[in-house]
Subunit: 170 residues, 2 copies
Amino acid sequence: MAAKRRRTAQQEHAADVSTYVAAGGEESVQRVITAVYAVTKKLDQWYVRQFADLDLTQGEWSVLASLARAGDTCLTPSQLADLSNVAPSSMTHRLDKMAGRGLVQRRPDESNRTRTLVSLTKDGWALFSAAVRESNVVESDTLRDLSDDERHELARLLEIVIAGLDDIDA
Amino acid sequence: MAAKRRRTAQQEHAADVSTYVAAGGEESVQRVITAVYAVTKKLDQWYVRQFADLDLTQGEWSVLASLARAGDTCLTPSQLADLSNVAPSSMTHRLDKMAGRGLVQRRPDESNRTRTLVSLTKDGWALFSAAVRESNVVESDTLRDLSDDERHELARLLEIVIAGLDDIDA
DNA sequence: ATCGAATATTTCGTAATCGAAGTTCGACTT
DNA sequence: AAGTCGAACTTCGATTACGAAATATTCGAT
């Protein structure tokens, strides 16, 4: 059934790049950026489906991942809002819900009582770990056509880009 | 002022990968996936700021880009909803607004009257083109540390990934 | 030819998000 | 030591998004 697809993904991608170039973009730029977004769009679709099994939205996942990545360090609601690309007022409600489920806990910062410190509970860690292991399946599938060397090279190039990100809007 | 950053972006990225690996992910996978999302997250932040100048939300941009990429072919609201990763009912309202602004136009499909065909207006094309040219600035900046050969290689590797995307959930 | 299932879109009620104003606290100035 | 400014979080009103039901049309089967 999949054989009746009219255009391959590569052809589709090439046509998309042409559209952006015709509209005034540079080819060497659009080829990369368009490809990156094609990958994340597909991944996002899988994430929503997989996270639904764990009763987890993308927004809640973002909170879980941000806290896990912070390790022992607690984060404030504002920091979480920044990391999740969301308004602080939205984070309030999101944390209310997650605290109600027992995934995170809030406690006042004794050194500065305008702040609130958020941390993962045991259940929060467990859910994070479960989501990572489940996600790794499709992520691994996504890269299945890449050799170890190619994965390494892809990571290296992306890390060059990452290294320069913070200096751009400064 | 930027010099007082405690950790470099690479160190941050490496720590993030370690977190995912500790939670049960494969290193060669997480290194790539985490990097891809680090890039898109930063790009998304810039897009919202830049699109605000054009009075354009990310959702509206998605519609514009989908229609532009389709070229002469008209798309239905359902197709646009799929391409935008959004519910069909949300697309209805979004198209209402955009049609009101004169960016898109709806007309009934004569061959199947349950369908509606959406296409870009002249103004819609102009706005798409303006957004592409404006976005290209920061996108180009994002890749500024990559040589032409490296951009080519990065695009090539990503295109390998894209080529395999459609066959995974099948 | 007609009835039933499937598809496409919209409407409606509920939930999530945003931006702005409100509140509380800390820091700096005088 | 009082007052002002700024920072952090929450509350509130309005916009946006979602899921389910409703509507309309096409397709297939008897």
